[in-house]
């Protein structure tokens, strides 16, 4: 694999999109799912979601298909490459947390100050 920009952090939007798309979903369900997962903390705007889905599809991390011939709604699902990238991101995030907790002494410290 070439030296790439593959090492950077995902945006929160991308993180939750890839997490949600481990099951196939169309746009509306995806948006609702992300809001539910985060108790509405992350609620993606329609344009932001559209842009992110297009970029992820172009990069081969997700793919789209038409759900049924009737309503022609587009559904999206994560690809193998997408799963690999997502797992890498999980490793990065775990390391981040581990480092912070090692220095600050775990979660009890969050209540302090």
């Amino acid at each position: 694999m070439p030296e790439s920009t593959d090492r950077g952090a995902f945006t929160e939007a991308v993180f939750y999109i890839l997490l949600s798309l481990h099951q196939p979903m169309h746009g509306y369900a995806l948006m609702k799912n992300i809001a539910d997962l985060t108790q509405k903390r992350v609620s993606l705007g329609a344009g932001t979601l559209y842009g992110a889905l297009n970029t992820l599809e172009k990069k081969g991390l997700i793919q789209s298909f038409e759900e049924s011939s009737k309503d022609r709604k587009k559904e999206y699902i994560i690809t193998k490459l997408g799963k690999q990238s997502f797992n890498k991101e999980l490793v990065r995030l775990r390391e981040l947390l581990k480092t912070a907790e090692a220095i600050l002494g775990g979660s009890e410290n969050e209540k302090g100050n």
Binding site: A13, G27, M31, L44, G45, A46, G47, T48, G51, N54
Partner: protein
């Protein structure tokens, strides 16, 4: 009951705000063209509105996506698109990330800048004509002077009106340095 309102806005944010006030009063926007807003009174249903300058590519695909999310594309006018959502279907956000927000404000800024610079160019052209081709203080001299000055004043006005947009872009960019 249908209702037509004629109104002109220079500021997108103010136009959006005004539309949302109408939406809170149960007015559903049906169409917009050349300063005329066509509403239908559907009180007590309330509507939320957004105005966007969409990208040129894949517009129909984007509009289809919006429709799937319960957002109606009401009108497409002079590069702007008027979007409507029923308030019962939840909050209406288009861009929740900084990159996209910056891009939207940049596109609005381009509108102001292109108006300002074309007026400035035309104004200067009239002044050049005035200097080169009028020697006496006759009618052509005064016509060129008045219209030239008007264009230049108008271009300066547009430039000043664009200032809040540039400020907004700068704020968002500095925010982006520490947050996604």
């Amino acid at each position: 009951m249908k209702k037509e309102i004629k109104k002109a806005f220079l500021d997108f944010d103010k136009e959006e705000q005004w539309l949302n006030e109408q939406g809170q009063n149960g007015l559903m926007l049906l169409n917009y063209y050349n300063g005329t807003y066509e509403f239908e009174d559907v009180n007590p249903t309330k509507y939320l509105y957004k105005i966007e300058i969409p990208k040129k590519q894949n517009r129909s695909d984007y509009y289809e996506f919006l429709e799937e999310l319960g957002i109606t594309v009401v009108a497409n006018y002079a590069g702007r698109v008027y979007l409507r959502k029923n308030e019962n279907d939840g909050a209406f956000d288009l861009y929740t990330d900084l990159d996209n927000q910056i891009e939207q404000y940049k596109r609005r800024n381009i509108v102001f800048n292109s108006v300002a610079s074309s007026q400035l160019g035309a104004g200067i052209l009239l002044f050049i004509n005035m200097i080169l081709y009028t020697s006496r203080r006759d009618a052509p001299f005064w016509i060129l002077l008045v219209f030239g000055s008007a264009l230049i004043i108008s271009s300066i006005t547009f430039f000043i009106l664009g200032e809040p947009i540039r400020k907004k872009i700068a704020d968002l960019k500095s925010e982006k340095k520490i947050r996604e």
